[in-house]
């Protein structure tokens, strides 16, 4: 794909602020942690490997939890959960929402009006309580959690794409393509989607961030996937340990998952802000 609007990586790096660059580096580091989790850890992440509640030290880099499970291993493997949830939701919601928004704007009429109403409805729904109820009834495994998150995040890319397509479809070359007999599908996939890809790609960063926060919030409330320990679930277990604040345990058991989650969310936010500004200066202004 040779697209005029896709800038080279080097050029994007040059246009980024220092905050965005730091965010990108931290993000890459965390992705590396998730991918290489099995090489970076020397204790199992799911069974006990030492004394319970050991403080950080030589044997256990970040200490252990109440069952003696190594915390560093849990955090490395937990990064995978965040990564899968973020990436899965962003891709599905971004692609789905983007296509829905494009079709609605391109076709117009009843479909478009129905879609806009649906988006309005999604906007006023209190998303976390709905997610809690859905996860509680459907069972909280990773697949269900991603599905619920997609259900609540497609409307954002759909709205962005709709606005973009509405302005784009009045352009001369699109009209020309139609005059020459280009079908709707041809125009959408050949002209509109490639042109708008960068904008959706950037909005996916925000979706990923939202999904990661939502997953850890649900896990924190006890609705995480029990088979794959996410950072939110570690926090949940630590907070449910009665009287944890009267002990020194929170200094590692609660602190480290908190630190990694905060780092991840903030670096995603800075990166997202920067790329939004680079991809579409008009959009950044409205923020």
């Amino acid at each position: 794909m040779s697209l005029p609007r896709l800038k080279s990586v080097k050029k994007i790096w040059q246009e980024m602020t220092n905050f965005g660059r730091i965010g990108l580096l931290i993000l890459l580091l965390l992705i590396f942690m998730a991918l290489a989790a099995s090489h970076l850890t020397w204790h199992p992440h799911n069974v006990s490997s030492g004394p319970p509640l050991a403080p950080p030290g030589k044997a256990h880099l970040l200490g252990t939890d109440e069952l003696g499970v190594d915390l560093w291993a849990q955090i490395c493997y937990g990064a995978r959960v965040s990564l899968i949830v973020g990436l899965g939701t962003a891709l599905m919601a971004g692609a789905g929402g983007g296509i829905v928004g494009t079709f609605a704007a391109y076709r117009g009429g009843v479909i478009d009006r129905l879609l806009m109403r649906l988006i309005d409805i999604m906007l006023v729904m209190p998303s976390l309580p709905v997610m809690i109820v859905l996860a509680a009834f459907m069972g909280s495994n990773i697949r269900n959690i991603i599905l619920v998150l997609v259900l609540f995040s497609w409307s954002h890319p759909a709205r962005i794409m709709r606005a973009q397509v509405l302005s784009l479809k009045e352009q001369g070359y699109i009209k020309m393509a139609r005059v020459y007999g280009g079908s709707d599908l041809y125009i959408i996939f050949r002209h509109l989607l490639p042109e708008l890809f960068p904008i959706v790609a950037v909005s996916m960063i925000r979706l990923a961030s939202m999904a990661i926060v939502a997953e850890s919030s649900l896990a924190f409330l006890g609705l995480g996937d029990p088979t794959s320990r996410s950072w939110g679930l570690i926090i949940n277990h630590a907070l449910n340990f009665s009287g944890i604040y009267f002990t020194p345990f929170w200094q590692w058991w609660l602190f480290y998952p908190w630190l990694f989650l905060t780092l991840l969310v903030i670096s995603l936010a800075f990166l997202g802000r920067d790329l939004e500004r680079i991809a579409d200066p008009r959009m950044a202004k409205g923020l």
Binding site: M125, L128, P129, G222, P226
Partner: protein
């Protein structure tokens, strides 16, 4: 949104609520297997009978749906087997705490957002503006439950300035002024966490709209008339920036309710959010659904009222 659309939204929520327990695979009440960290819940035959009778699972679907709706109209939200009480009564007893959280957090996030937003706008591009902007952006990007945990660790566990959990000191016997002080003391950290994360959106809105307003002709006119700087800022500029705030605050309300649910759980605050988590924990489905309905209904009602208020405040859109 029109009243009709609010009605449709409400019906969608009610319908989701109706179908969820009925769409669970197999027999919903035998299927509730416990998960790691959760208490294992088995239902006795008596409980099962109650549930089947309550949901009317042996009747045709359309009749169940109708019965469900008419039950709601009578304020019947079901019976919580775990607490052995009416769901509506349990919810009513917890609502005041959540209301306190929501109103206090809305008030303080507005205050903070308006104050810092106008501060930034009047010093646009100066270092004060840049520092404020950066701080607010960082705070509003941290998820509320992470910020809440941070406040709890630093100010309650570390420095011991605030209580660790709850809404009042148990068995203290406080009355009158001492009781009020105790309640405020307990509410402080959760409200700060909520206000800080919610102030960001308001801040950006005030900052942006004030910047546009300050460039308008009537601001120059006001200056030319020789009005004092304070009068220009507060009477002319800020007043015109207030209108979009009404929409913003209510649009944020759904997110605010989500935030309250999380914050109440961090601070073990006895409101609806805490109750919701307890209901999840013991798999008390009627209670869970009741709380969900009350929260969703309140958010919708508040949005509707704000829409009406906006139409009243801004005559330009009254015709639409």
């Amino acid at each position: 949104m029109t009243i009709f659309e609010y009605f449709i939204t409400l019906m969608i929520i009610l319908t989701i609520n109706f179908f969820l327990p009925r769409l669970m695979p197999g027999d919903p009440f035998l299927h509730l297997s416990g998960e790691a960290g959760l208490e294992f819940v088995t239902f006795t035959a008596e409980q099962r009978e109650y549930f089947i009778a309550h949901y009317g699972l042996d009747r045709p679907m359309s009749e169940q749906y109708f019965r469900y709706l008419s039950g709601l109209l009578r304020g019947d939200l079901g019976f919580s087997y775990y607490y052995k009480a009416d769901v509506a009564a349990i919810i009513l007893s917890r609502i005041p705490w959540t209301l306190l959280m929501v109103t206090a957090a809305t008030f303080f996030s507005l205050l903070l957002g308006i104050f810092l937003g106008s501060f930034s706008a009047w010093r646009r591009e100066a270092w004060q503006d840049k520092v404020t902007y950066l701080l607010i952006v960082i705070f509003s990007e941290i998820p509320v439950f992470l910020l809440g945990i941070m406040l709890l660790i630093v100010f309650a566990a570390g420095l011991g300035l605030f209580p660790l959990s709850g809404a009042i000191t148990p068995f203290s016997g406080y009355t009158g002024f001492a009781l009020t002080k105790d309640i405020l003391h307990h509410a402080m950290l959760p409200v700060i966490a909520l206000s800080l994360t919610r102030a960001g959106g308001i801040y950006l809105l005030v900052r942006n709209s004030l910047t546009t307003i300050l460039a308008k002709d009537y601001m120059r006119t006001a200056r030319a008339k020789g009005l004092s700087e304070g009068r220009i800022r507060y009477r002319h500029a800020l007043k015109n920036a207030m209108l979009p705030l009404v929409t913003r605050v209510t649009m944020q309300l759904g997110g605010m309710v989500g935030g309250v649910v999380l914050v109440e759980n961090i601070f073990a605050y006895p409101g609806l959010g805490r109750l919701m988590q307890e209901a999840v924990f013991v798999r008390d489905y009627p209670l869970l659904q009741g709380i969900f309905l009350v929260l969703a209904f309140s958010v919708l009602t508040a949005n509707l009222l704000a829409d009406l208020l906006y139409r009243f405040l801004d005559p330009r859109i009254r015709e639409i």
